[in-house]
Structure formats: C-alpha cells, structure tokens
Symmetry: C2
Subunit: 344 residues, 2 copies
Amino acid sequence: MESKLDLIEAVRSGDRLALARLITKIENHAADALQILDALFPFTGNAHLVGVTGSPGSGKSTLVNHLVRALRSGDRTETPPKVAVIAVDPTSPFSGGALLGDRVRMGDLAGDTGVYIRSMASRGALGGLAHATSAVTRAVDAAGFDIIIIETVGAGQTEVEIARLAHTIIVVEAPGMGDDIQAIKAGILEIADILVVNKSDRPGADNAVRALSTMLELARPGWGGDEVDSESDVSLQNHTWTPPILQTIATQASGMEPLIDAIQDHWDYLARSGEKWKRERERLENELNNLLQTALVAGLHANVPGDVYQDYIQRLIEREVSPHQAVQELLAMSNRTAANSNLD
Amino acid sequence: MESKLDLIEAVRSGDRLALARLITKIENHAADALQILDALFPFTGNAHLVGVTGSPGSGKSTLVNHLVRALRSGDRTETPPKVAVIAVDPTSPFSGGALLGDRVRMGDLAGDTGVYIRSMASRGALGGLAHATSAVTRAVDAAGFDIIIIETVGAGQTEVEIARLAHTIIVVEAPGMGDDIQAIKAGILEIADILVVNKSDRPGADNAVRALSTMLELARPGWGGDEVDSESDVSLQNHTWTPPILQTIATQASGMEPLIDAIQDHWDYLARSGEKWKRERERLENELNNLLQTALVAGLHANVPGDVYQDYIQRLIEREVSPHQAVQELLAMSNRTAANSNLD
C-alpha cells in the first residue's frame, strides 16, 4: 500500500492511476479522502470548468467526444490543453472509470495521456452527487488538467446544481425534439452561457434556434438575444455576456472550432469583467455555508437521540408543540449534552 | 394597547382587525409575533390550503375572485365555508391588507365577513417570503377560516416553495400565451394537482389543453393523462390522483362548479389515501429542519466575529485553507466561545 503522501504526490504529478484511486476513495467516502483533498486544495483553482448538459437524444456525448478531439488536435496551439471529462448520470446506479461504455465512446482518445475520462453515478442521496462531483473536479484540477468538462444528463435540480460548479455552462439541444422537451430545460436556460443546436443538418434546426432565442429572452429579460448594438459603450460590452446560439453536427465533427472559440471567449469575458472572481467567491461561500449547515445539523443529531427527535415531529403533527418551541427545546437539549460531555 | 393574550383571543374568535394586526406583526418581525404564533399553533391544521399559481395574463386573480364568490354563494351548502385569500407577489415591494387594488378587485366581497383578503409582498430576502407566508397562513388558519387560497404570481423557485405550503395546488394557464410561457412553468407542473385553462372561449383553448396534457405526461412519467382504466383495481384508484385539466371563463364566472368539485375531490383523495398525513409530516419535518439549520447557523455567527468569517472566505479563495478545514476551525472556535460563555 502506498502512503497518503505518496498518493498526494502521484496525483499532483499527473499519475492517472493515482487519480483514479483518489476518485474511488471520494466516491466510497474513504476515511482519508477528505485529508487528501485538503492537501491538494492549494493546487486547485487553475482549470477552466466547462459544464455540458442536454436532454438524452441531443447527441451531447458525441459532441463532447469531438470537442475533446478538437481541443487536443494541436491545430490551435503547439501544446494543446490537457482535457478531462467527468460524465455524471444521476439516473444511473453505475459508476467508475473502467466502464466499457466510456472506453467505447471515447474510441481513439483512449491512448492520449492528455485526456482523462471518468463516469460518475448516483450513490445514495442525490444531494450528495453535486458534492461528490465537486470533490472529484478538485482532484482532477489538482492533477493538472487545463479544461475539465462536466457532462450531465437531463436538467433536473441536481443537474442545475452540478452545472453551477462550472465556469462556463453549455446547453445542447437538437431539432425536432419538440417544444415539450425544451420546456423541461427552462430552468437551466437561466444559467446557460452557450447554447448549441446539435444535429443541425436535420429539418427544423432553424426553428430550434429561433425557439431557443425566444426562450432565452423570456428566461433573461432585457438580454435582447443577438441584437448587440455595435455603437454601444465598449466598457459595457466588456461586462455583459449574451449567450451565443451555435449550430453543430457532432457526428461529422462540424462546428467544433466556433464552439471552442465561444468557450475561450466566455473564459476571457469572465476574467475581463471580474465575473470570474465574483463567481468563485459565491461558489466557495456557498460551499462553506452548506458544509457548515451539514456539520451543525450532524452535531445536533449526535447530541439528541433519534427517538426524541421523531417524538418532536409527532408532537408537531399533534399540535402539542410549535415548530419554534421544538427548535428551542432541541437546541437546549443539544447544548446540555455538549456541555456535559465537556465536563467529563 | 391590547395585551398579547387579548390579541390571541381576538384572533381565535375571528376578529378581522386582530388578525390584520397579527399579520402586520409577522411581516414586521415584531418581537412578540413568534410567541403569539406559538400560542395559536394548537388551533391550526384545520383549513384546506389551496395554492393557485399561473403566469401574469392567465386571468388568475379574476378566477380566484369568482371561485371565492362561488364558494360563498351558499348554492352547495347551507353554511358556506369561510374563505381567506393570501395574495403573494414576490416581485412587488408593496404589502398590506388595505391596498386599494385588493378592495377594487374583490368588489362586492368586501362586505362579506366570511371572506378575508390579504396581499403580501417581498420584504428583504426572497427566501423569507415562503416562511412569512407559512406564518400568515397559520394565523388565518387559527382564525377559523375553512379554505385558505394562497395565490402566487409566476412560477419561479419562490412560487414553487410557496405552492408547496398548500394541500391542493392549482396551476392556471390561458390559450395563446405560447409554448414559451408554458415552458417556464415546467417546474410547477410536477407539483400541480389541478390544471385550469382559463379564457377558454379564446381560440387555441383545445391546443392549450393538449399541450398541458403532453407536458403533464412528460413531467410525471407513467401517469397517463386522463386515460383512467375503469376496470382497474378500485383500491389503486383510491391511492392515485390524475390531475384533471379543466376549462374556465373567469370573467363570466363559467366553470366554477367543476373547479370546486375538483378541489373537494382532491381534499377527499388526500384524506382517503393517507397522503394528507404523509404530506403534513413531510411539511412539518421540513419546516423543523429549516428552522433548526437557521438557528444553528445563527448561533455559529453569534459566536464567530463577522470579520473572522469573511477572512476564512478570503483564505478559501486564496487556497490557504480548504473548505473542510475552514468548517473544522469555525466549529471549534464557535464551541470554545459557547463553552467560555457557559463558564461565566
């Protein structure tokens, strides 16, 4: 067995097997996972996190494959960025980096050491999936990947939470999926930075672009779609972002360059406008508050026996105690237990 | 000034001015509001809470007016139910029961002592609005109203939270508002118990019904719309609810009786299936957990100086401390402060 320090060093040096072992520890809630992540935290915050979400059938996975290929092609820069893909499926009970599906879908990328692919799935509570994804993203970030694509299926509350981990959020649609399918995604449109109509060689692509443009306007009143006034104040343009609507045909690798341009433009916009630091602060403050709440509630439950707590809920239902009174009494009980254990 | 006990008694006896004073106390976070609500809590839990939500322009307010009139008409029962309306507008800064708009809109209902109408609006944090609405609903419940209609505008996260306070949730649409408007409401369709297409004399009413039916199917897979198999197990029918889609013309008071039937049917279904108690338990458990979290976090912030907390967020951003480490240190600091104040 390697030591904890060895594993930390190996992850930092980009050792893929070490990274895989750490992610498995995170998924299994291993006792030392938190300490290892603590040690790696100073080396995070460098990667560009790109969220990709879309309905099943939008061709999102194929799009991600070809996006990774285009990023790695070396056509744009001499040293292409190291790219990781974390594929999250809240509806699947399966997880792990060695799934056959991952290997098949990424095809010839399997031999590229500048690419890391990992699938994650729901284990236990869904609320925990966003948290686990955040931890895995940190591990991959510390391993030196420049771009981390977080791919999620669907657009439920969990997917929105996971998408919020990213700096740049891409929403993928396809023509002819019906307004109803798009409807489900209204919640995620509010946080989309780039919209993609994939399979744009199919009939209805222009309609889909128009529908998305209208929905975008509804979801973000006053954004005014594509109508950017070239005469307007340049400093204002630097500080606002109008989500572009791009068309791609992923199966033909068509439209990848404009998509990479848009991703890079958004990254530049985030830095230029100061939005990057604002989002970073919000994200970390939010994470700290969530962790504090979880720890405080866990502390209370450790001090108050489970049957006492359930008894309070029953007394609430029977109107014997009000919610406000129940809180006061549970807090007092918890504090007494804590004080007594301090005296021991 | 009346005493606290006098106010409690007056609210319980149905004194409308006393109820209005208590609601103002709740909205203003008056020091004694919580104690008064504690004293009234044993007398709550009797009213049927009906949430009504829909986009602006769906004619929702007119629908609620005529629904109240129909409930109060006495056509159905000799002693019609006492009905209250709490109109919540998260986008409006105005609040209070004496707004001209309320008096105008309810017209001839103003003289009916079996009807109470109050508007509420956002004060400070939106998250607080659902909590304040819950407290106001309890006050009205304790005052002896049989049916409390909680009317909200729009379908954002706040509206969904507020709607969740209700036993029966009605979503109102209108024809010709476009698929895009309906799209925004996808989130609330998942929790709708009754769907209403208002203004059903307008062109496109049948299309709207069809669109809602399709969206309902998407939002609740396997529910199968209206296709109830009459041969199927009766006990199963007792335990499932298929949201009906009704058509109304509120300006002509048309369709009110079927709507009242559906509201009553849903109330009966909740009791018959045991769903009422399940939801009641979930609602109270959820409220207790939220109040506990809020109290615990407030306790921590009382023990940790604000600048120390802000300093931790800055150190998180600079990667000097990990979120997990920050939580450990903040908890330890809070516990030390609490222990020292106990020794004093």
